[in-house]
C-alpha cells in the first residue's frame, strides 16, 4: 500500500473503465463519455471527503508509526500506569504504562492489513462469479444454490478453526472471512448485474455479437461499480469489527503486539480502576468503521450521479403574470332552480401549484371551475399532463407531496373543503366522495382477501361488526355483478383478472355509500371488451344508487357512454365545457376539435385520422396567452398576446377567441 488512500486504487480497479481491460477492436455500443471522473465527483460529497481524509490519516499513521509514534509500542513506564491524558502521553497510558496513542498507531497495522485481505479475497471471488451467474443461465444454476448453502455456514466456527490451524495467524483468519463473505457479495453482484443485463444496450451489444466476457467487462461491470463498492465498504466495516473482536478475545495477534481489539481487552481488564482507556480505543474503531461506511455511501452517490441524465436547465418561466391577468368566469351565485338537483360539488377558480424545476413554483391547474349536481355525470377529457388527475385528487384532498392549492375553492355540499382540517377532510372520503383508479391490480392490497378489503371499508364507514361487514362485502360484490361473490370474497387480488379486480375496486368504493364517485381512467388498463362492461356497470350503478360520477378519461367513447356533461382540459385549464353530445357534434375549442378528430371511434372509415402535432407543454412552461396557441391551426397574434377568457353560453362555453357569446357553429376546414 503506497497510496495515501486505500480506497482510491480499489475504486479505480473496479470501475472497469481501464482501457487495457477491454478486448481490442471492440466498439462500444453506447460509449458513456464526457463525464467527470468518479474521483472528481466523489470530491463533491463533503462527508465522503471527510471520511477519505480520516482513512488517509489512519493509513499514513499506521505506515509511518515508527516515525510518528512518540513511544515504542512495548515501551513500558511502570511509574506511570493508567494515566489520563497528559502532555507526554496525550491519550494516556495503559496498565503497563505504555503510551496509548503510540499503541493505537501500531495497532492500526494488523487492523488495516486484515481489512485489506478480507476485501480483496471477497472481491476477487465474488465479482467474477456474480457476473457469470448473471450473464449465463448455466452458471447461475450452480452458483445460486451454492450461495444459499454457503451463506448458512456459521462463520465464527470456521474462523476459530482457522485460527487454531494456523496458530493464530490473523491474516489467514481474515482471508477465510473474505471467503465466507463472498457468497453474500456474489448475491449483490448477481442481482445488480441482472438488472443491467436486462437493459436494451446490453441486449444490443449481444445482437452485435460481443462475447459474454466483453459484455461483462465493458458494459455491465462499469454500471454496477456503485453497488459493489458500497457493499465492499460494508465488507470492510464488518472485517474491521471482526478483526477487533478476535483480538479482543485474544485469538488474533500474539501478545504483547499492539492491536485495537487487544487494547479494548486491556481497557476492560483495568475497568475497575479506571475507564478512560475505553474511550480512545473504542472511538478509533468506531471512527474507522463510520469512515468506511460514509465513504461507501459517497461512492454510491457519486456513481449514481455519473449515470444520471444531465439535468435539463429550467428554461421555464413562472406563469404568475398569466395567472394574475387571467379573466375569471365568475358565475352568479344563483339560487338553484327548483327542478335541478342541488349542487354537490362546486369547484371555483381552483389553482394548484407544485415545486417546479429549480424549486420555482409551477402551476399544474389554473383557474378550473365547474359544478357537479347530485346524480349528475361529468367527464373530464384531455391528453396526459393536462391536469385531469390533479383536479380529481384536489377534490379528494389527496394532492401528491409538494402540491398545494394556491387559489380558488372546492365546495362539497356548500362547505369549502380547502379550509377543512385533515381529519374532517378524511371523513368525507369514502362516505361522500369515493375513488376508483386506473390500475385495478395495483389498487388492491395484495396481502388481503377481496372480502377482507371491502369488509374493512364497510366497518370503517358503518361501524358494523365483523360478521355483518363481511355479509355486506359479499352483497357489494353481488352489486358489482360478480357472479360468485362468496367465492370471490375469499380470493386474493393476484387471483383476479383485470376486469374482476376493477369490479372489486368499485365495490370497495361503494362500501361507504358515496354520493360522488371519482373514476380516474377506470377502463384504460383493461381489454376493450372488458372496458365496455365496466362502463355499463358504472352506468347501472349510477342509476341504482343515484350517485354522481366524475369520470376522468382521454377516451371520448367512455365519456360519451357515461357522461351527460364534459369538461375538456388542456395544460391546466378548462378549455371547453358543455353537454357531451353538443361538444362531440360541434366542438367550440380547436383543442376539442383536434382531440375528436384524432379519436379512432369517431373517425370515418377509409379516412386517415387526423393527429395533432406537438405535445402538451410542461407545467411551468405555459405561455401567457392561449396555452394551446403553439398547436392551434387557427392561431392569430391576439391569441398569444394575453390570457384568454372563457366565453359562450351558460350551458356551453370555451376558452377561445373564436367563441362568441352567441351560439355559432363554424364550418370545419
Amino acid at each position: 500500500m503506497t497510496a495515501p488512500s486505500g480506497a482510491e486504487p480499489a475504486a479505480r480497479a473496479l470501475t472497469g473503465a481501464d482501457p487495457a481491460g477491454a478486448p481490442p477492436g471492440a466498439e462500444p455500443v453506447v460509449a458513456p463519455s464526457g463525464r467527470p471522473g468518479l474521483a472528481r465527483r466523489l470530491l463533491r460529497h463533503p462527508l465522503a471527503v471527510g471520511a477519505l481524509l480520516y482513512l488517509a490519516a489512519v493509513v499514513v499513521l499506521a505506515i509511518f508509526a515508527p516515525v510518528f509514534a512518540p513511544y515504542g509500542p512495548q515501551e513500558a513506564d511502570l511509574t506511570r500506569v493508567l494515566a489520563t491524558p497528559t502532555a507526554d502521553h496525550w491519550l494516556g497510558t495503559d496498565s503497563l504504562g505504555r503510551d496509548i496513542a503510540s499503541r493505537l498507531m501500531f495497532g492500526a497495522r494488523p487492523a488495516l492489513t486484515g481489512v485489506l485481505v478480507t476485501v480483496l479475497v471477497a472481491a476477487v471471488i465474488a465479482i467474477p462469479i456474480g457476473l457469470s451467474a448473471a450473464l449465463s443461465g448455466g452458471a447461475d444454476r450452480i452458483v445460486s444454490p451454492l450461495v444459499d448453502l454457503l451463506m448458512s455456514i456459521p462463520a465464527i466456527v470456521v474462523l476459530l478453526m482457522v485460527l487454531a490451524t494456523f496458530d493464530q495467524e490473523l491474516l489467514a483468519a481474515m482471508a477465510a472471512l473474505g471467503v465466507l463473505t463472498a457468497p453474500g457479495l456474489v448475491r449483490v453482484v448477481r442481482a445488480a448485474a441482472l438488472t443491467v443485463a436486462g437493459e436494451p444496450y446490453v441486449a444490443a451489444a449481444r445482437v452485435y455479437g460481443f462475447g459474454r466476457f466483453a459484455i461483462a467487462l465493458r458494459h455491465v461491470l462499469p454500471r454496477i461499480t456503485g453497488p459493489i463498492l458500497v457493499n465492499l465498504s460494508l465488507v470492510a466495516a464488518t472485517a474491521l469489527l471482526t478483526e477487533t473482536g478476535l483480538n479482543f478475545l485474544g485469538l488474533g495477534v500474539h501478545l504483547p503486539e499492539a492491536s485495537w481489539g487487544g487494547m479494548v481487552a486491556d481497557a476492560s481488564a483495568a475497568m475497575n480502576q479506571q475507564n478512560w482507556m475505553l474511550i480512545p480505543t473504542g472511538a478509533v474503531v468506531a471512527g474507522t468503521v463510520i469512515a468506511l461506511v460514509l465513504l461507501g455511501d459517497g461512492v454510491r452517490d457519486a456513481t449514481a450521479e455519473g449515470w444520471a441524465r444531465p439535468a435539463t436547465p429550467a428554461r421555464s418561466r413562472p406563469t404568475r403574470d398569466a395567472a394574475a391577468g387571467r379573466a375569471r368566469d365568475r358565475r352568479p351565485d344563483d339560487a338553484v332552480p327548483a327542478e335541478n338537483p342541488p349542487i354537490l360539488l362546486r369547484v371555483d377558480g381552483l389553482t394548484v401549484t407544485v415545486p417546479g424545476p429549480g424549486g420555482r413554483p409551477a402551476q399544474v391547474i389554473e383557474d378550473v371551475s365547474f359544478d357537479l349536481r347530485a346524480g349528475e355525470t361529468l367527464g373530464i377529457v384531455g391528453e396526459s399532463g393536462c391536469g385531469k388527475t390533479m383536479t380529481g385528487r384536489a377534490v379528494l384532498g389527496l394532492l401528491p407531496d409538494g402540491a398545494h392549492i394556491t387559489g380558488g375553492s372546492i365546495r362539497i355540499d356548500g362547505v369549502d373543503a380547502t379550509t377543512m382540517g385533515g381529519r374532517e377532510r378524511a371523513g368525507l372520503r369514502g362516505s361522500t366522495i369515493a375513488f376508483v383508479s386506473q390500475e385495478p391490480m395495483a389498487a388492491l392490497d395484495p396481502l388481503f382477501t377481496v372480502g377482507g378489503h371491502i369488509a374493512e371499508a364497510v366497518r370503517v364507514h358503518t361501524g358494523a361488526g365483523r360478521a355483518p361487514a363481511r355479509r355486506r362485502a359479499v352483497e357489494l360484490l353481488g352489486q358489482v355483478r360478480i357472479s360468485d361473490p362468496e367465492r370471490v370474497a375469499k380470493m386474493y387480488p393476484h387471483q383476479l383478472s383485470g376486469g374482476m379486480a376493477q369490479r372489486v375496486a368499485i365495490a370497495l368504493a361503494l362500501a361507504g355509500g358515496p354520493r360522488l364517485l371519482i373514476a380516474d381512467e377506470p377502463t384504460t388498463a383493461l381489454d376493450v371488451t372488458v372496458q365496455a362492461e365496466i362502463l355499463r356497470l358504472l352506468r347501472t350503478l349510477q342509476r341504482e344508487t343515484g350517485m354522481a360520477i366524475l369520470l376522468i378519461s382521454h377516451d371520448w367513447g367512455a365519456v360519451g357512454e357515461l357522461c351527460e356533461r364534459t369538461l375538456v382540459m388542456y395544460a391546466g385549464q378548462v378549455v371547453e365545457s358543455g353537454p357531451t353530445a353538443t361538444i362531440v357534434a360541434a366542438p367550440q375549442h380547436p383543442y376539442s376539435e383536434g382531440l375528436l378528430a384524432a379519436n379512432p371511434q369517431l373517425g370515418t372509415p377509409g379516412m386517415p385520422l387526423h393527429v395533432m402535432p406537438g405535445g402538451v407543454p410542461a407545467p411551468g412552461e405555459w405561455p401567457s396567452g392561449c396555452h394551446f396557441a403553439a398547436r392551434c391551426p387557427y392561431v392569430t397574434d391576439d391569441c398569444i398576446a394575453h390570457p384568454i377568457a372563457v366565453a359562450g353560453t351558460d350551458d356551453h362555453r370555451s376558452r377561445c377567441l373564436r367563441t362568441r357569446p352567441t351560439h355559432m357553429i363554424e364550418a370545419k376546414p
Binding site: P154, I156, M161, F248, S268, V289, I290, G427, G430, V460
Partner: protein
C-alpha cells in the same frame, strides 16, 4: 409453499454435511492434537501414542469422520476429548444461554427497530436523516465495547444490574432477565438501527404504492393504512433483516458471552478450539448450523404467513 419448505429441509442435509466435513478437514490441518495437549509437557512419546490410540486419533481422518457420522445417526455427537463428557450433554447445558442471548437480541432489535422505523417513516426527512446517522453509529460501535461501557456505567458505577454471570430461568425468572438485559442490549444495538433503517425504507416504499392511495381515497383511516396495510406490506424485508440479524448474533454472541461471563456455546467453542477438542467444536458447529437452518425455515414460514402469493407458489 410446501415445496419451498421441503426444499429448505432437503438443502439443510448437505449443509450440515458440508459444515461437518469442513470442520473435520480443518481440524486435521491443526498442528498437534488433543492427545499431546492432554498428556501435558512432561509426557513421554509413548504416553502420547497410548493416549492417541485410546482416543482413536491414530486412525485416518476419513475413518474418524465415518465414526463421527455413524454416531450422529445414533443420536450421539461423541464425547469431549478433554473431560470425557458426552458432547450433547456439554452443549445441552450451554444451549439455553446462547439461545436466550441470541433470540433475545433478535426480538429486542426487531421490536425496537420496527417502532423507530415506523415513527421515522411518518416524521419528515429530518427523522430519516437521524435514523441514517444512528444506523451508521449502530453499525460502527463494536458490541463488546458497548457491553463494557454498559457494565462500567450501569453495573460498576450505578450498581443497577449484575455485570457478569448467568441465572437460569428455572432458578429465578427475574434474575434470568436481569442477567440478560445488558448482554442482550449490547448485542442488539447494531440490529436495532439496521431494522429501523430497513423498516423506514420498506414503509416509505409501500406508502408510495397505488393501493395505499386507493385506501386513503376511499376513507380508510390513516392509522389503519399505516399499521394494517403499510406495515404488513413492509413485513417481508423486515423479516429478512431479522433472520440475517439472528445469524449474525450467533457470531456476535461468542464475544458478548466472553464480556459478560455467560456460560454459552461461544465460550465453549473458544476453549475447545484452544484445546483442540474436535468433537466439541464439531458439536458447536452442528448446533450453530441447525440454528441457522431453523432461522431460515422460520423466515420462510413467516413469508408465507404474510404474503398469500408466497403461499400459492
Amino acid at each position: 409453499m410446501k415445496r419451498i419448505l421441503m426444499r429448505r429441509l432437503l438443502l439443510s442435509v448437505p449443509l450440515l454435511f458440508v459444515v461437518s466435513v469442513v470442520v473435520f478437514v480443518l481440524q486435521s490441518l491443526i498442528p498437534g492434537d488433543a492427545a499431546s495437549q492432554l498428556a501435558g509437557l512432561q509426557a513421554t512419546q509413548e504416553d502420547v501414542l497410548r493416549l492417541r490410540r485410546q482416543l482413536d486419533l491414530d486412525e485416518p481422518i476419513w475413518t474418524q469422520y465415518w465414526h463421527w457420522l455413524n454416531g450422529v445417526f445414533h443420536g450421539s455427537l461423541g464425547t469431549s476429548l478433554t473431560n470425557r463428557e458426552a458432547v450433547t450433554t456439554a452443549l445441552g447445558t450451554r444451549l439455553p444461554v446462547t439461545l436466550s442471548l441470541v433470540l433475545g437480541a433478535t426480538v429486542f432489535a426487531t421490536v425496537l427497530g420496527v417502532v423507530l422505523g415506523v415513527a421515522s417513516s411518518r416524521a419528515g426527512s429530518l427523522a430519516g436523516r437521524l435514523v441514517d446517522l444512528l444506523s451508521v453509529g449502530g453499525l460502527a460501535i463494536p458490541s463488546f465495547w458497548l457491553g463494557l461501557l454498559l457494565i462500567s456505567l450501569l453495573s460498576v458505577r450505578l450498581g443497577l444490574l449484575p455485570a457478569t454471570g448467568y441465572v437460569k430461568f428455572a432458578d429465578s425468572p427475574d434474575g434470568w432477565a436481569r442477567s440478560l438485559l445488558l448482554p442482550v442490549s449490547a448485542l442488539a444495538l447494531g440490529g436495532v438501527t439496521a431494522i429501523a433503517k430497513q423498516t423506514r425504507e420498506a414503509m416509505l416504499d409501500v406508502l408510495r404504492r397505488p393501493y395505499i392511495d386507493n385506501l386513503r381515497a376511499n376513507g380508510v383511516p390513516e392509522r389503519r393504512v399505516v399499521f394494517k396495510h403499510a406495515l404488513r406490506g413492509a413485513a417481508i424485508p423486515i423479516c429478512t433483516m431479522s433472520s440475517i440479524l439472528l445469524v449474525g448474533a450467533l457470531g456476535g454472541s461468542v464475544v458478548i458471552e466472553q464480556v459478560f461471563g455467560l456460560p454459552g456455546l461461544g465460550g465453549l467453542a473458544v476453549s475447545a478450539t484452544g484445546s483442540k477438542d474436535i468433537p466439541v467444536i464439531q458439536g458447536v458447529a452442528v448446533y450453530f448450523t441447525l440454528l441457522v437452518v431453523a432461522a431460515n425455515f422460520l423466515t420462510d414460514i413467516a413469508y408465507a404467513l404474510i404474503d398469500p402469493r408466497v403461499r400459492a407458489s
